[in-house]
């Protein structure tokens, strides 16, 4: 239960093609994360799977069955929305019961599942409140509760945590990951948060302008990005990309080096890149240093572990780890 296949799916809004022909298979039980810049079609793709948008061309298969023409209510999927989309006129209990009531489940069975879901989501005390009387995190949990009780063949999440504050986000992230480990149900998760993508995903799908740039495990994407776009998109702070003479030395059009793979020193080092500190961001655990004046890349970002005592205007010398240099050809593809 829970394999999802997109076959030559095309989506147009009027004349603009948002998703050009796209093929993707999400395996049963997999936690797949869609990432990509704003407007690249992540939500659209998710909504195509849900059936909330009609495909212009192509097919959506769920467990091998063609669901392209099936209404969202009959696809057996559950969705958690960024805005939570709770029914404001119903209590938490009624909200959670709603999909089961629509499915014609018996009251007893409904109650058993509500209690179980409420317990696992820490909602037991709030069952008789209306959504308006809950905090953002509680609302999000209700939305998740509403999704799990119907035991869907897959969960779809569209940026479910982006309305929460940072601390809550971390907590909820763990809860969802744990839920996935427990339920082993397919989950598709849309986000543009790096950390969420890297920590939660079994596989990440990187999208740009409706096109899949790369599909792979988080570490695959980190270590061997297929092209410049993925290289720049995965990892934070962003990978530094250098063109020109420095790249020529490596027989590439462009080379990339992640900020954490550069050593910084205030003393002169032979063969190192030279630059001047623009801004140094001291985070305590790390220091992000933005450096001007390096040929082919301005500014260059370096991430140094611990607190490094540099300040604006300091001259610094940068040594990249040779083994961590990524090479790209003229078309931006990995060499």
């Amino acid at each position: 239960m829970g394999q999802i296949v997109l076959k030559d799916v095309v989506k147009k809004f009027g004349d603009t093609e948002v998703i050009p022909p796209l093929n993707l298979t999400i395996e049963e039980g997999e936690f797949a994360v869609f990432v990509g810049p704003s407007g690249c079609g992540k939500s659209t793709l998710l909504r195509l799977i849900a059936g909330l948008e009609d495909t212009t061309e192509g097919q959506v298969l769920i467990d091998g069955e063609d669901m392209t023409e099936v209404s969202p209510s009959k696809r057996g999927l559950a969705m958690v929305f960024q805005s939570y989309a709770l029914y404001p006129h119903m209590t938490v209990r009624k909200n959670i019961a709603f999909p089961m009531r629509m499915a014609g489940m018996s009251e007893d069975e409904q109650n058993i599942r509500i209690e179980a879901a409420a317990k696992s989501l820490n909602l037991t005390d709030y069952l008789d409140r209306k959504p308006g009387q809950l905090s953002g995190g509680q609302r999000q949990r209700v939305a998740i509760g509403r999704a799990i009780v119907r035991e869907p063949s897959a969960f779809l999440f569209d940026e479910p945590l982006s309305n929460l504050d940072a601390a809550l986000r971390v907590g909820m992230r763990l809860e969802i990951s744990e839920m996935h480990k427990r339920l082993k149900t397919t989950m598709i998760y849309v986000t543009h948060d790096q950390v969420e993508a890297m920590t939660m995903a079994d596989r990440i799908v990187v999208l740009q302008a409706g096109v899949i740039e790369q599909v792979g495990t988080p570490l695959e994407l980190y270590h061997s990005p297929r092209n410049k776009f993925v290289a720049g998109f995965i990892g934070s702070p962003k990978m530094n990309l250098l063109e020109g003479a420095e790249a020529q030395k490596h027989k590439a059009h462009t080379i990339g080096i992640r900020p954490e793979h550069i050593k910084v020193s205030t003393k002169a080092v032979k063969g190192a890149w030279k630059g001047t500190v623009g801004v140094a961001e001291h985070l305590g655990s790390d220091t992000f240093i933005h450096i001007h004046g390096v040929e082919g890349c301005d500014p260059m970002t370096v991430r140094a572990a611990g607190d490094v005592a540099v300040k604006h205007g300091d001259k610094v010398y940068l040594t990249p780890e040779k083994s961590q240099i990524h090479k790209f050809d003229e078309a931006g593809l990995r060499i």
Binding site: G51, D54, T68, E69, V70, S71, P72
Partner: protein, 312 residues
Amino acid sequence: MSSRRLPRLLQAPAVILLLFWMLVPLGMTLFFSFIRYVLASLNRPEWTTPSIDNWRGFGNYAFVLDSKDFLFAIQNSLLIVGGILFLTVFFGVMIAVLINKVFPGQGIVRVLLISPFFIMPAVNAVLWINMILDPVLGLNGLAIEGINSVIASMRDAPVVGWFFSLWPEFKPISFRATQTSAYAVIMMVTWQWTPFAVLIFMTSLQSEDEQQKEAAILDGAGKWSQFRFLTLPHLARPMAIVVMIQAIFHLSLYAEIEIVSRGNGNKNLPYLIGEFANNNIGAASATGIFAVILANIVAIFLLRAVGKTLME
């Protein structure tokens, strides 16, 4: 495609009903306007039923354009609509600005002010033309009769009597003549629709930018400048909407004219159509088409103004 078809079909009943409502009667009017169709015609009995054989081309239009009633009705329509529009917008802005600030009893004042708007047009007309404006028996006549009798009694009073004997006898204005009854209509409709303008302007004033006003005060703007350069421009859009909505309602004003003016020669376009429709259906229909054209000119502007804001 698939999952959206049913939901979209749900608008069909409303669309079909309105399509029917618009096309069938209007089509008939258009057809009648091109044929000779007279309900009571002794020497041409074939004209008493609608038939394509009685084709008259633009004859009815020519007939209507030639009749002096038509020109008068158009003029009067415009006079009445124009008068009402000017007065309601003027009073509307003044009153809205007046009661926009919080003061004791504001709620009651609002309720009192809005009430006229809910009076049914027939009652409005009967109330005004009879009980208020009638030169003999209405408040108009009664009050003036009362004043006259007070003056008359004062003439015999000692000391000041000479002063009152200089006063003429007051005469109430009659609102039953052709032209004055148009004024009566303007008066009663203005009374009824000023509350509407007030309500809309007030709603709009509540969304006025207070910070902008405070900035203006700091810049040294006086009360008048604030009103002239901030409030009035802010009200421009609601004013346009008030004007156009009212224009559409008042171009088809009927009950008031019917009650106030029956038989005294005062008429507007809808009333003229009603008169024609008693016998000469061809002419009534041609007049109707003119009315549609007139309304459409106004409607186009309204649709533009409304459409823009609503669909974004």
